[in-house]
Symmetry: D2
Subunit: 362 residues, 4 copies
């Protein structure tokens, strides 16, 4: 009887529990295999925090946000933090310990659900003899190997609902509403939510904007009798003047030019540049939490089922991916090769422009 | 300056307003064309109930369910009902009248948003000299020409949320919950909502079920200590004994073997066959109403923008369709040729079975 | 150290987990008492299915629908069904067994969360020496002793959201939409949801309606150019012709005059009486499921905290109730004395009439 | 035939459209009066931007956020900004102009929907001969004259849903999540949302907190194996060190000690004081937007209906208020006398403490 491990790594993402459930049900029912859950990503593999999962563990979790296994973005076995008796932290190579637990639990294979960080570690563990199967996870949907990742549509839905709410209050006053969403490198969340929410201006990392472009759109709407404008900003949008705007609470970034986040900064500049009142909303981790929307549940379940089949059929080194309307395996190492960024000639950008949305360009 | 008409035909569908908005904004802004909205589908074309649409008509409607133009499924110009002075209804050929209004309003083209009924009429109007562009619309997502239609994901979302609610109350008692959703010929809504909601049994028109198969799944769960089962039934699911179950309120169907709808009938038979308590919920037109989910808004906007470009560029006889991740034009007449039904070897069916869902087969 | 039992009886109701959590946290933290959860209402007390509850059992359940303890409406210890070896069911008096488990688990007190059935049994157990504290529970909000019960607002919210959805699709067509909600004896859900959703007609058990009254309102709206009407019907609304309409799936009610439920029947009669198309939606147990709305969570928590204090302070025979904006104890036996029904001169009825809602009166 | 004016003043608030609809329907249907809507609060009265409202204006707006009349918080007729030809702004007394429009439109009475600012102006207009009726409006629910105001429950619901989302992602990582909600003087939103969402720490203006109290609670949870803490902060929470934290985008407040808002500041201090990772979410104007929850729609409709009756019956100088479960008139001038703040011995505060919530006290 095979023994198949599962872990979830990196940031939180709606749909992780659907994946865990799908893997568990598939390998238990169709192959009679045993599933071993690893807690808190690779951190739990190093620490040996693992447990067998049964039907009752995965029952009813399809609609649940978060991950029942926990996750961590600190658990790289090759750079593992160990706290000494004097509370000082030393970084050590704990990869042998991770492999020891892999062998002690007699795993035939480990299914790693995560982003590029997780997949890189997975690749290194494979080099030490572990068998790996992957499930891609990125709320930003910026992985070149798959058309879509689960969690993304949920994030877009939360952001769009927020824009809907801001619309009603914006249209009661004469105001500019700025909403900041996730997206450090890729602007897909801002683009889709801006398009679905009918934002007037969308600012994303991939398309440099100018203050003149932003002010002109806002003022042009005002002149045409529109009572308000909605600006949807990705947290990674690049300022015209260069430099970076970091969050007020990110106490380590003392070098940063401005505290408060890019949304607050954009709002401040619009007030200065147009004389209009502005308000800002920062969605932050709201986008990562809560129950996955149905399409994310279905996609996550499809990924999990395929990963379960791959693991049980010993087709290692592969990862689930969506191509068109098909879920297919791709090599893990290819998968993490390329980022999928928004381009100026992307159909969605063109569509947004056709309905009058500005990207703040001159 | 071109003049482009828009009408929405057939049943209601979340996203229609996104299409109307996208067409209007695209042809006004990018081509300087004038948009003429036709009220209540082809009925309004026959009656000449038409009006010019401006920016303020389509502002803020992206999140709005329904259609600002109204729709109708009675307006076939070739079989048009006319009510006489004595209240008697005569069916007449009003196609010439429809064409007269088309010409009187100096339309260069008419964009018809609708299902196969609407597209058939569009084809016949083209035969009389009208220029047509199409946008496909089916909440059931059963059109072969496009991978996805807008409105479908919203319907799936409403149904999934209902299943989520039933789960919590089902698990507090020992009960079988039956939920009936739309889908007269195609089971996509039941399949996706059942998969996303974690239904235990899914009954759809395309996969014949047996009472034994249904009872066995329910009883097997009960024996394994599960306190409940959720059964998701498409309204068009075919009974093992043949025949059809119609709604109690459908007073014209006196031939029908049983009143109350298929959901109520399935619930009754499960009670008889297993001795377990059952409850039924009939979602009915809830699936067609309300604000479209963001992914439907984005898809509907993409369809509308393409239709706007096609109309303004005089590329008539074409319809917007989604292939993979691209929105492309396809000939209208090809588009309505084939239905896309669920098949037993569809990946979604296989995935559902891998996570333990039964289709009531023996 | 005191030992305090908790059970949830009767139908499901959003907010039960908030009550369980509040009782547990209050008596553990403030009194150092132990909490014993009883499974499936009084059924679990007879069977001795009980377990100690700790902090981890009640952590994170505030937003969870249903009840982690399970419930049952079959567990009256004085009429307890016992299944024999031949599968025949005998009704026995199992009250001594219930008391034996009460004593075996060394309970100082039992907090019973439930409706009048549950409170009646609680009163009889008190007669055998058990100490009882009560928390009222009725989704219909029909208990005279308290201004409001938890779960009611959630049911109203689900029903209102459904009416919102029907509005958009109703207004796209010319149609009458009938929606059936819970309320066998009291019409509060239909009244509040109808008022909040802007229903045109509200039919409730307490206000007899006539078909003429219903038809007149529908036709009058139609004549004034309104494209649709929304009718919100409580399942217990009394037909003008007398008799009762039962659900199609309620197979035991062969005496009933009509299958399909009152909603379907009303829809059918409106079609016959006005010639307008009708559609029906039956919400059924959707109203009892899902996450409680915030105001229900707060009220349920307030009830649970007070019940915890009453139990730990040995103030037995009392029940939590809301009077104005205060939560106060009332004697259990008074509490179950009277039903709170809608009256014709209730402010809500008058308000509904002032905004144009009809109750189907002549 | 009487002519009754309606205006909405001050900040946006879900339920305003329910009030407008209820007043309009009540006075038109029951008294045959004419309703005149004033745009953008008192600004529109000064400018004479007014229009008659009919049935079609208020049809379908019950579920709509915002206000169809628009609002403004700049429109005090006694300090009215006038922009000169050189773009300079002069403050003038425009009260005579406001009264002139009141008389020109032949108003018998004006119904003012708003907060204390609006009611003060209303009182001054009454001094000039206008007849006034009031409907109280404060999303913070801090008016002593009424037990509850509409909009408040919607704000609590949005904040609670956000806390729910943060819970799932917080519990996947080891993290402290800080959420900042509205409430400059009164902490009711933070208190109710914190209670309903199960926040671990609630910081409000009325209860001074200490950093030690906050750190202790967070660290104590961490020691007991809890993976996360949720901190719900009202924007007006007072820092232990005195001073005020203002928003980063509030460019005029150069005197402020710290940019970024109180939520970001609290998060930063928790990171410094406990070494734990923190994340912050700022809900901002999300709380004021979107469709009102059903209980707010019902309350707003009750207020509007009473205001309509008062106006039509010439019972001037009165305002609708909720006392217990009754909606009653109170004198406007009494109504704006007192604020209703949270006190330490409020039942809700005691309940929150009983379920383990900390207010950051030592």
């Amino acid at each position: 009887m095979q023994r198949i491990g599962v872990l979830t790594g990196g940031g939180d993402c709606p749909g992780l529990n659907c994946v865990i459930r799908a893997i568990t049900k598939t390998v238990m029912t169709e192959y009679g295999a045993t599933v071993v859950g690893v807690e808190d990503g690779f951190e739990g593999l190093v620490d040996g925090r693992m447990r067998e999962l049964g039907n009752s563990d995965v029952s009813g979790i399809i609609s649940l946000g978060g991950t029942i296994l926990g996750t961590s973005n600190k658990g790289d076995p090759w750079h593992f933090p160990v706290t000494g008796a004097d509370q000082s932290v030393t970084i050590t190579d704990a990869s042998a310990q991770a492999m020891a637990h892999y062998r002690q639990w007699e795993l035939d294979c480990l299914v790693a659900v995560g982003g590029d960080g997780t997949m890189n570690i997975a690749g290194k563990l494979a080099g030490l003899g572990a068998n790996l199967v992957g499930v891609p996870k990125t709320i930003d949907n910026d992985l070149a190997a798959t058309d879509l990742t689960f969690g993304h549509e949920t994030a877009v839905a939360v952001a769009t609902e927020a824009i809907d709410r801001l619309h009603t209050t914006a249209s009661s006053h004469h105001r500019v509403m700025v909403i900041e969403v996730m997206g450090r490198y890729a602007g897909w969340i801002a683009l889709r939510a801006g398009l679905g929410g009918g934002a007037d201006i969308i600012l994303i990392p991939e398309i440099p904007f100018t203050w003149e472009g932003v002010f002109r759109k806002v003022l042009s709407r005002s002149r045409h009798g529109k009572r308000f404008s909605i600006v949807c900003v990705a947290e990674g949008a690049k300022l015209p003047e260069g430099g970076e705007v970091v969050k007020a609470y990110d106490s380590k970034r003392t070098d940063a030019k401005q505290l408060g986040g890019v949304g607050a900064f954009v709002a401040q500049r619009i007030t200065e540049g147009t004389g209009l009142e502005t308000r800002v909303t920062v969605l932050g981790h709201l986008l990562r939490g809560g129950s996955p929307v149905p399409s994310d549940r279905v996609l996550a379940t499809r990924f999990g089922v395929l990963a379960g089949h791959l693991a049980a059929q010993r087709r290692y080194g592969l990862m689930a991916a969506l191509h068109g309307s098909r879920v297919e395996p791709v090599p893990i190492k290819d998968a993490i090769a390329g980022l999928k960024l928004v381009t100026r000639d992307d159909e969605l950008v063109q569509v947004a422009k056709s309905v009058g949305t500005s990207f703040g360009e001159v």
